[in-house]
Symmetry: D3
Subunit: 324 residues, 6 copies
């Protein structure tokens, strides 16, 4: 019954409601073999960085459950993501629930280790503060940060000095020089002030804000065209609240009027046509206690699947080039 890297437990033999839920029913291993595995799922069950509703620490648990429906072949991208990546479930990082900073260190260490072995992390959060730890672990790449969110997460600090939260990580990442540029997509909702959307002017690295209103006005195709022209290394970070609350009620800081999953998935897939190398990706802020029917976790599982597929397309293309 138990499969090798990149293979799922066969649903035609063992029903999907059976067996301990690893991501997509892939094998679990803490020690992936870099010769066969170039991508792993891992969870970061931490929500100590949230400013509003907590609960995202349960994200990995419930995303795994809903991921049991995922199947091997991505018809839209014509790829077998798990097989191409030799994907496995790496388990979760041992976070320190009461300390953002120690948790960031833990994350950084694990990610750096995986990255050094050529293994790309596909991460389920956790709140958005964890992305800083991941980017630190990937610092040698200094990627473009593709940031899907309804919020800017670009504040300096909260409550008289708190510098590491889910609302400040973008600013920290820029300050720490670990991203080369930032593209923020889906920004919407009320802002603190008219200064908020002027951050790009002050940013030491190129920072582009694409609001939800702009996407609604110019169209998804306008956006995907822009993304397809990207070049270089990218890191993709998806705050699930970029999606409308109807499709993703299970998140802490909901903003009405967001993307539909059909839109977001087509945007994500467009990255498969860009000349980029995806060095990692996270889907964060899934808060199962607020997700009574599981649809937010299901969506997160599918977004990770699509991201794995994009990476697999890149990998297959690269292999093709290397072979030729």
């Amino acid at each position: 019954m138990f499969p090798g890297a990149g293979e799922q437990i066969d649903a035609m033999v063992s029903p999907r409601i059976a067996q301990i839920p690893t991501f997509a029913r892939l094998p679990f291993t803490r020690d992936p073999d870099p010769r066969v595995t170039s991508g792993v799922f891992l969870g970061v069950p931490f929500d100590g960085g949230v400013t509003y509703y907590s609960g995202a620490r349960l994200g990995p648990t419930y995303i795994r459950i809903e991921s049991r429906l995922l199947r091997p072949y991505n018809h839209a991208l014509k790829i077998y993501p798990f097989k191409v990546l030799g994907a496995v479930d790496y388990g979760d990082i041992d976070v320190i629930p009461t300390s953002v900073e120690k948790t960031l260190n833990s994350i950084e260490e694990t990610i750096r280790d995986l990255d050094s072995k050529g293994i790309t992390p596909f991460i389920a959060g956790g709140d958005h503060s964890i992305s800083l730890g991941v980017l630190r672990g990937l610092s040698r790449h200094k990627p473009i940060l593709i940031h899907f969110d309804s919020h800017l997460d670009y504040w300096d600090q909260y409550w008289g000095g708190e510098r590491y939260t889910h609302g400040t990580w973008v600013k920290r990442a820029i300050e720490e020089g670990i991203v080369s540029s930032v593209v923020q997509i889906g920004i919407r909702g009320p802002q603190y002030s008219e200064e908020d959307l002027k951050f790009p002017e002050k940013s030491p690295v190129p920072l582009t804000i694409i609001t939800m209103d702009e996407v609604a006005y110019y169209g998804v195709t306008w956006l995907t065209s822009r993304l397809k022209s990207l070049k270089g290394k990218i890191y993709v970070s998806i705050d699930i609240d970029v999606v409308d609350p109807a499709f993703a009620p299970g998140t802490g800081t909901r903003e009405v009027g967001g993307f539909t999953p059909r839109e977001l998935i087509s945007i994500l897939r467009s990255l498969s046509e860009a000349e980029v190398e995806m060095v990692g990706i996270d889907v964060v802020e899934v808060s199962p206690p607020l997700d009574h029917t599981g649809i937010t976790s299901l969506l997160a599982a599918n977004l990770i699947y699509e991201a794995m597929s994009v990476k697999a397309v890149q990998t297959a293309r690269k292999n093709l080039i290397q072979m030729s």
Copy 2:
């Protein structure tokens, strides 16, 4: 207070929260009079054919509750569906919860009996395996199967030999020669393999797959144009998971990125313009235990209402022709 066939309890007299919930507050009878009744609602509370989450056996119970809001006149199609069909609530089929095959026999028998009297069944499932029983009962029509779903339901068997499940009924229906052709609409999500969407090539009857991606790309109007050109007898089977999980969380095998109800209803209504005769219709896979706020049952009730309206338009047109 108690109405005749095709009439609802008057909400202006008896509030909609009152009285035992029959479908749309129509009269219940196990013995409809074919002289006045040409369409009945009936439930098939069976979920013994599911491969993933169970719960659809409660569909008829909750669809009836949410159907209490339905009113007599369909403004979009300019028709009084209940009146035209002399509609009644026939109650539920006595399924055998522990046996798919015996249940299929029960369904077949009831449907054949109704059909022989010229009464069209409008069915609330239950899981999708029940559609095979219905099609058997309607076998003399050998209709075109219009199948709305996110899944193909075209597998041969599960778990070493299970041939009758909600994932195999389309294959069985084709094998048994009880459908003349198949149109599958809304297919999406990960597949088992690249072979999956090549089923049409091997099918002994014409089988067309229209994916959700295609509809999103070409537009709903492209699809409705195609449907309007259909000719002959049709059977419509709607797996509620063809709709996006935000609109239909209460179903067992959810796939993100589906139709919106606005889209699906306009597609369904387009059948009123085709030269077809609808010999039956089902809405299946509504699973109330996963539908915390009742919106999935509500949608199912409305889809049945729209289907009744389409049939009523066909009936009215036919009557007009016969009269002239």
Copy 3:
């Protein structure tokens, strides 16, 4: 910590999950100073006028909770609504839960008093019957009623003589001569009869019905163009069920196939470009017991925010004109 009129408790000092939840964390006062305050939030926790599911009496409680996420600056309209209006939370009207008519009197009195001081009410219901009380309180303006709803609410009476319900208030308002004309937007779903949509022909004041089907067919831009050409005083009444049940499950009389929040918000914002004066606005029929994840209350809070922003734009424009 405690702010003046138009100012919110600072989330960078006191986290949004803290403190007694007033609307948008604005100061509460029963005695707003007309020199600084030209707009107030107030709740009308009444659901004694509903014909179907009750629960809307809890609307104000939960809308306040979800409103804690609102921030000062509306980027889309380039305005600080709370600051411009000197907004405060006025608390709730002391309704009489067992009497529609006494409650209407209470509402009328409070609204008339606020209006006489030049203070615009931004109201959270409660069921739709309350809008009649508000319109009576604003009768000196005799505004155009912009009515967003999936239902016409234009019936004469229910159950042998009940004239004051959430389904009759539009008819009453017209009869009482307190609105100059009516525009109904979003109408959909089954009707009682083909006569229903012919109400405009019989109405003593101009009455326009714009169905959801029409908006879907002609496009949102078609609708906003029409709204931008409005002139005069307007009162906006939003039944949350104008939105699709996926986005607003928490309401009593849900109709599938409604607006998305993105559509509705862009329609609402278009009023900021019309030469109109908004004399009041309500968002009604939010029923928290049916809103398990809070997204309906969240949406209602945002709609009130957008309406305040529209009013603030009008106010700012007027001030500009007066200054020049």
Copy 4:
């Protein structure tokens, strides 16, 4: 499949999840035959008399659904309640949702009619104001009122003159001279003042208050001994909030620290040993929107079943006496 009065649809033939849910799967009739039927279930879907959370209008709908599990034989009381009573489901009274007083009239009329035919009503509310209408309909009996509740419901009026609410019906019933005495059981929770529990001193009819604290202190057996010594005609009214919120979360005015169902059922059963004649009974204040898992409706269905059993024991005993 369809049974006669006093008989249920056979669950060994038609599974309990099937068929339109009448109470306990008994036959529905609006015109019970007094020769075979001496007890009917009926619903009163009204919640216009509540002072706090609404929702009880949905009580009859959901109590019927959960009642499908009830079976013919009460082993504890050694009786077949449905058979002895020739029980049927009478449907619901056509309440006027917006008017307490008109609804009371409707109830009174129906109950008086049934009572005149010798048919005992077993009622599912609805809020507690409805009990006044029932008692009016039964006024010829002037019964002892056995009132299970955590609240006294003995206030004179609310909000400057509202005399008919779920908090005033006991006072009205005493004033109207339609009960001979009152026993209130389960009273607990905070009171308005120390005067509250002194009502008995001022009551024109004997009024006994037995608090939850007393039952907890003296024991359930102490209470049942007292009840067994009752003589004469009784009417039993059970506010489901007499039960602890853990067992009955689905009600509007919950008080912690109430009865367990085991306690309440044994108390109810003790009435079968008293020399009393039960002329009617209601279970009220079940509010399904607050009852996410259905256990409150299930409990209510069982309480009605036990009350029917008590009545059946009385009936059987009387028949025995008459025969001898």
Copy 5:
């Protein structure tokens, strides 16, 4: 991080919300070493044998999640159950969702294999039909069946011939001669007829029924005294509906008035004082879709823990005797 048999992932190192949820965070293995492991957790995710609400197939998934809180030491029984048993999580049996009989075969085979290695199964269902498969696998022991349930499960067949369901397994087990006697504890609720509780008279093996009413009347101590006097091999089967619905809402066939967990756990623990050998145990009928807050799964996890503790006490005692 990863522990040996009988050891849990250390919560002081890896927070309990982290890592893939095996039962009690014990190691997962499909091939337990009989030299160190004498007890395993295993799941049977099957609900194809239910007559009423489905959903129990998700039991193992959610019981594992809630089991993460379990700690090593049972203070009441003074034992380390996991350590003594060298416990591991064996995963789930590959059930055939559409076939009771094939699933029973699967179960039997696995259980027989484990039993032949001297490994005791601690099972999470699944519906109650699965217990028949387990008992078949343990047939060499012909144990006393200690059956906790609110229902007798002793019917011959349903729906014209269905002999394998969750309501017939006790009768089948007796007929098949695989239990030596039966003790049923907690029986309550309405029965089909007065014959139901007379089953013992007709049973070919000794069958004792202890109703909930008897336990309530004579006291829990009366019951535990009886249980402590048991001798021989026992199999314990716990239908979670033996517990009151307030404590276990998440089950399909709820009966009001059941045990409290405090009662049930003290009853279970009393078996540690009897001269018996527990050859297996199951906790069945946990239906997560009906268990909105997870407390039913949590209770099931604790019941399995207590049963493991009882077994561990027996094992420790036996070892002591063998050593002496």
Copy 6:
């Protein structure tokens, strides 16, 4: 409408569903007058110290909502708690969500200030780590800590050095010398090791553990007798998980088999007969996202009410003594 200290908004004038929800509808003030106010409600919306499920930061918000049912007179204790204490709602402490230690400082400061004015705090958490801050603020009293909980909270540290969590605060309080002795009531569930319940032997201050099993065995009266003999200053800290999950599902670390509210309230009330001075009290670990029907918040509100009543009895007695 707006009342003075110790007075509630009159529910007979303004319905309880109306107005911004302060605790028990008492007036809100950040600056209570010590001449009239000797007790305040305050919230501490912090859950950064939890080791398992988060969510308790929303405790104060939802406890306030459910507290609207509280009335002025406690019949059991014959006291008007709000009036005697001149109670007000002080609002919430401005916690620092991302830092336990800074939050502890904030709490300490506020509590010390209130205490210096002779005002007793009645606190709604937040997680249990906050109690350490409160005890620090009350350090001049060095009270006996009466600790209701299913867990010991006496660990030294978590995850390699985290000393301030909801599982370590009792140990810290003892180490810091701010409590004179500790009584722990309700301890149950699995432990880490047999050493756990031997903490008292090593504790530098007297520490008594009373397990749930002991209370169940010896009876509640045995416990209340012991509590009535207490003398001196006490601080009462109630982890809501001391109550059984059926009554308090909304908490993060549930243990089956706990107190019923009836038991806990009678225990709490017994303190009114002891010669003690209550210097403060908290109810913590209420996690609304896990409390779907609000009963946990309701229970917490009632526990605070009973604690206020105990304090009021003490105050009244003291005043009586002073007067005499």
